[in-house]
């Protein structure tokens, strides 16, 4: 009951109703997005990892208040506690039921997956093929995969963009490109 009172009056998950735009948006924030528990778990994992690392350092837990591990320990513990509040709020709130596969489709639709794969490939290939070829390939394949119409025009645009990037970064600003 104490926790309910605290949550009711502090309502730390408050959407700041006095400043919010409209009731519909308030409802959106109150109703958890399907899969939100997975994000909360992800944050637990990340923060847990940092807490584990920080415990190995001298800090407040070891009695050294100004140690290098003090602030990491304090902050990671606070984040874990706040994340726990979010998980409680999610469990109490209205949830759309969705299985894991549908959650993945909801978060990562086809176009998003394609772009992520292309970006990762770009980063991996840039060390081997260097900037000009990799960028040209990425720009052209990226544009065509997002809209299959007029591939030749997109190749010309990709070449133009590459030329502009080389002019701006390499020639004018003399920035070292990957």
């Amino acid at each position: 009951m104490g926790i309910n009172f605290l949550l009711h009056y502090l309502y730390l998950g408050s959407d700041n109703m006095a400043n919010s735009k409209n009731i519909e948006q308030n409802e959106h924030y109150k109703n958890s997005n399907p899969g939100e528990h997975l994000v909360i778990i992800l944050i637990f994992i990340i923060t847990g990892g940092f807490l584990y690392e920080s415990i190995g350092l001298t800090g407040i837990i070891q009695g050294q208040h100004s140690g290098i591990g003090s602030l990491p320990q304090i902050i990671t513990i606070i984040v874990i506690i706040l994340n726990g509040f979010l998980l409680l709020q999610y469990l109490k709130g209205k949830k759309k039921n969705m299985n894991f596969k549908n959650i993945i489709y909801h978060v990562f639709p086809k176009e998003v997956i394609i772009l992520i794969m292309l970006v990762i490939s770009y980063a991996l290939l840039i060390e081997k093929l260097h900037f000009r070829i990799t960028t040209l390939l990425f720009l052209w394949i990226g544009m065509v995969s997002l809209d299959k119409k007029r591939p030749i025009l997109k190749l010309i645009i990709a070449l133009g963009v590459l030329a502009s990037l080389l002019l701006i970064f390499s020639t004018i600003f003399k920035v070292l490109l990957p």
Partner: protein
């Protein structure tokens, strides 16, 4: 030579005028490109200008600095990708304005307010430099710590949605900012044994990933369609400027004071000013966060006002007010000039010359700030299939340029995907960026403050806050920030509004 003579020598020198103009023009477009920053441009310019005399070098660098702070707002407004941390607050209402087709108007407002804010801060620099510096040197470690925490809570309270989610992301940002080598002891921490992570994670990489790549992914998911922008009327009318003059003056004061504090700059100034506008403007043109003009006026006035403010500790104490002035100090040292109280006493003409460069840059900001708006506005009308791969490419180049390290690209991609997931579930990203930026200020001042207490303990560090006037004021501000995000405050506000409307009727 006196300060006035130094000032006149600069504004009558065609070569310096040209360099200031060129610097502003380049700075605007550098700042506007996601992935480049004014700080980066000034750093590059140091090597170009090594063989120049000091004043031509300063004219060019001040020009770039001035232009880039404004320029960052262009991509913030049009693409929701701030070109600089000082433009984060501008995106809150600037981007919604662009979605409404008023991106041109937003950019026009941004130019005018930036110019007004900077002129105000230059006047303060001239008149009050010694007074403002005296206030700044009274700030203790506790005060800086509280200022950092206040900045985080502010951005958390400004974010739409859950305040708790905003604090979670802010604190995650602080953790990320601590990855690498400890600045005191040089010991590696939070690196998970990785040599790559020992060099730390740059906030620019985090910003590019979270605002650049994640925005590109989100636009794909949400299938956001291009919106045609109104660009026939860009410059705000005199009536609009007059109506918003009280807000402009208050935000100029905020920007100047925050800029004058060493280590804080346009980013914090802009956020504080935005929050101030949100709390004080009862009838905005639209609700804040939905394209309120006041939501662009406030941060843009403050972030450029912070420029003049940042020069106050730089010139009078030799302490940088922000990252840009930190590099300018480096440039001055390379040219054999050491800023500080000795310089002000022995070479007062130098102070006049810097003021002259600032004023010239500001004039050119007004002239060049309106250039390219129509062209830039067309950017948002480009089909997604073309603009998204370009944004990603710029993000990759921008991440790599910071330290020519390929691992920064991988970090950028990781933060981009993480940021995209967070945005889907309404975790705001601005607090995380600010957490990374403020992490050194918060940690160094916490540890320094603890070491300065007699018992070397954290409890004494916190209890001494209640005995120092500046700390007490900041604690009250933080307490009010926390309180206004509770349901109790919502209930109180509704009751107060009911009472007011009852009394009126």
């Amino acid at each position: 030579m006196t300060a006035i003579e130094g000032f006149l020598a600069v504004i009558t020198n065609i070569h310096l005028i040209f360099l200031a103009a060129a610097g502003v023009f380049v700075g605007i477009y550098v700042g506007a490109i996601p992935g480049l920053s004014g700080t980066m441009a000034i750093s590059l310019l140091i090597s170009f200008t090594y063989g120049w005399e000091v004043m031509p070098a300063m004219a060019a660098m001040i020009g770039i600095f001035t232009g880039a702070v404004y320029g960052g707002s262009r991509s913030a407004i049009l693409l929701n990708i701030p070109g600089a941390p000082s433009a984060i607050a501008t995106s809150f209402d600037g981007y919604p304005l662009a979605r409404l087709g008023e991106g041109g108007i937003a950019m026009g407002l941004s130019v005018t307010q930036s110019v007004i804010g900077e002129f105000f801060s230059i006047v303060v620099l001239i008149i009050a430099a010694p007074i403002v510096t005296k206030l700044a040197i009274h700030f203790t470690a506790q005060d800086y710590f509280l200022l950092g925490v206040m900045g985080l809570l502010l951005v958390g309270s400004l974010s739409l949605g859950s305040f708790v989610k905003a604090i979670v992301t802010a604190f995650l940002g602080i953790i990320i900012g601590m990855v690498g080598l400890d600045p005191y002891t040089g010991q590696a921490r939070l690196t998970f044994g990785s040599y790559t992570m020992q060099s730390g994670i740059s906030f620019i990489v985090v910003m590019i990933g979270m605002f650049g790549l994640s925005e590109a992914l989100l636009q794909l998911k949400q299938n956001i369609q291009p919106v045609k922008q109104q660009v026939n009327k860009i410059a705000p009318g005199l009536k609009q400027i007059k109506e918003n003059l009280p807000l402009t003056i208050r935000c100029s004061i905020i920007g100047t004071l925050i800029g004058a504090l060493p280590g804080t700059g346009g980013d914090i100034a802009a956020l504080i000013a935005y929050d101030h506008a949100k709390r004080t403007i009862k009838k905005p043109s639209r609700p804040f966060g939905e394209g309120a003009y006041e939501g662009v006026i406030a941060p843009e006035t403050a972030n450029n006002a912070a420029i003049g403010g940042a020069f106050i500790p730089m010139l009078t104490l030799g302490i940088p007010g922000d990252s840009g002035t930190a590099i300018l100090i480096g440039a001055l040292l390379i040219h054999g000039i050491r800023p500080g109280p000795m310089l002000m006493g022995q070479q007062p003409e130098f102070f006049g010359m810097i003021v002259g460069c600032l004023i010239m840059s500001n004039v050119f900001l007004y002239i060049f700030g309106f250039t390219g708006i129509k062209v830039f506005s067309k950017i948002v009308e480009i089909p997604k299939a073309i603009i998204i791969p370009i944004i990603v490419t710029l993000s990759i180049i921008g991440s790599y340029c910071i330290s020519n390290n390929i691992s920064d690209i991988y970090f950028m991609i990781a933060f981009g995907i993480f940021g995209y997931i967070l945005r889907i579930y309404n975790f705001p990203l601005s607090p995380m960026i600010l957490g990374v930026i403020l992490s050194p200020i918060i940690e160094l001042n916490l540890r320094r403050g603890i070491d300065l207490t007699s018992g070397h303990n954290i409890f004494e560090f916190f209890t001494t806050m209640f005995t120092q006037s500046i700390s007490l004021i900041l604690l009250l501000v933080i307490a009010s920030l926390l309180f206004t995000n509770t349901k109790l405050w919502d209930i109180l506000k509704i009751k107060l509004d009911k009472n007011r409307s009852y009394k009126k009727s």
